[in-house]
């Protein structure tokens, strides 16, 4: 079961990465949710043994490579977000879906703010409120990800 879970984890991360690579432009680019981070958070909460801060960090590096940004900035932001997700993971699995969504929303905002701070240090411009739009679209997408319950069906089938 563990191996099957691992496979579906990497597969879902790969699909999220492809979603990130789609040629977004204009408004779509502005509101594009952070697919990879959402899938990472799902697995972090579902099974922190398979997916931990290291996985998040490597995924962040991959995003940095694809985006052409400063090497390691997304890795750091993902690692920080993953840390807060893992620390409260045991409590979070007991939350109901609305409490979970609220916590995920805070994590998404935390990720954006960390990235923003790193970009400010690197000499970027200050983006304004539209910078937080991906958090809103992300929390909408989160409902679908929770609904999909990747990696849980296999467990139910076994029983």
């Amino acid at each position: 079961m563990q191996a099957a879970k691992l496979k579906s984890m990497y597969l879902s991360l790969f699909v999220a990465f492809i979603c990130y690579l789609l040629p977004w432009s204009g408004v779509g680019l502005l509101i594009r949710p952070d697919f990879v981070l959402l899938v990472l958070l799902y697995w972090l909460l579902r099974s922190p043994r398979l997916c931990n801060i290291g996985t998040a960090w490597f995924a962040g590096l991959l995003i940095d490579l694809a985006s052409g940004g400063l090497f390691g900035q997304c890795g750091l932001a993902y690692a920080v977000t993953a840390f807060f997700a893992v620390t409260y993971q045991r409590r979070l699995t007991l939350f109901n879906i609305w409490q979970q969504s609220g916590y995920i929303f805070i994590l998404l905002i935390l990720n954006q703010l960390t990235l923003w701070m790193l970009k400010l240090f690197a000499g970027g411009e200050s983006p304004g409120w539209s910078y937080l739009l991906p958090c809103v679209s992300g929390i909408l997408l989160w409902q679908f990800i929770m609904f999909s319950r990747i990696g849980i069906e296999t467990h139910a089938d076994k029983n």
């Binding site: 290291g54 090497f71 890795g75 750091l76």
Partner: protein
Amino acid sequence: MPRRAIDNQYTPAFFVRGPSPFARLIFFAALSLSLMATDSRLHYLIEIRQGFVALLYPLQILANTPANVYKNTKDYFVTHNSLLSENQRLNTQAVMQSAELQRFKSLETENAHLRNLLDAAQSSAQPAKMGEILHMGRDPFTHKVIVNLGSRNNILEGQAVVDADGVIGQVTKVYPFSSEVTLITDKELAIPVQVERNGLRAIAFGHGKDTRIDLPYLPANVDIRKGDKLVTSGIDGVYPTGLAVAEVINIERNPNSPFASILGKPSAGIENHKQLLLIDLPDPNAMSPRAISKKTKPITPELSEPKADNASR
């Protein structure tokens, strides 16, 4: 922590989670901070990055497929009428332009003749390559596009990029199969310009937030008007002289500031073109030493320009 200490003594192997999250966080944070420092200050990672981006290229092609398939099917079902009208429009454009081209040729020979008489250096034509935009930059807050030509097509860092209406930007990163073009609306890109009406030289910077460009460091009493055309001045040795850059749309003269704040609207269709031209860098033998130093960091020489200008004024 003391609360945990007791738990840990009796923790069955089932709950063992390896190093604590905090230790992992510190480790990876240190790793990424050192990576960021290496990348931004020491420039060691350029080759590694190029290799990885080349590996990602097939994935990129895969991700672009849905959009391409959609575009191709849409092109396939284009109507007879729209094709006819487009053909007609292009024909008219071709006739108009060939008339202009004839005038241009006679002017060019005349110009060469005059330059001969004056013993001035000949301005040589710079060859260019046609490229296509693969996708917009991944970060919505930097103004960049990715083009399908790379180091395999002899693209070099610092090349100027134009479309039919004017300057779009400059190549800032080159990968094997693609390259990154920073648009003139990006805050980090500076371009030496000249007011077409009176030859006044200035440096234009991207405005960042919207698709506008900024002319800072011009004194409040400068002779510039709304509607003035800005063209490349060519003193940097990268952009050919006389390409359209922008049109001045707003001038604010604040009595508290020694500088006027001037905004321009780019003449190139920065947001809506698919094809663009990458103009080759001028022959290195003909380059001035100032322009050669551009290779490592394309923006610095242009940045140093306005100070010299202001001092002479």
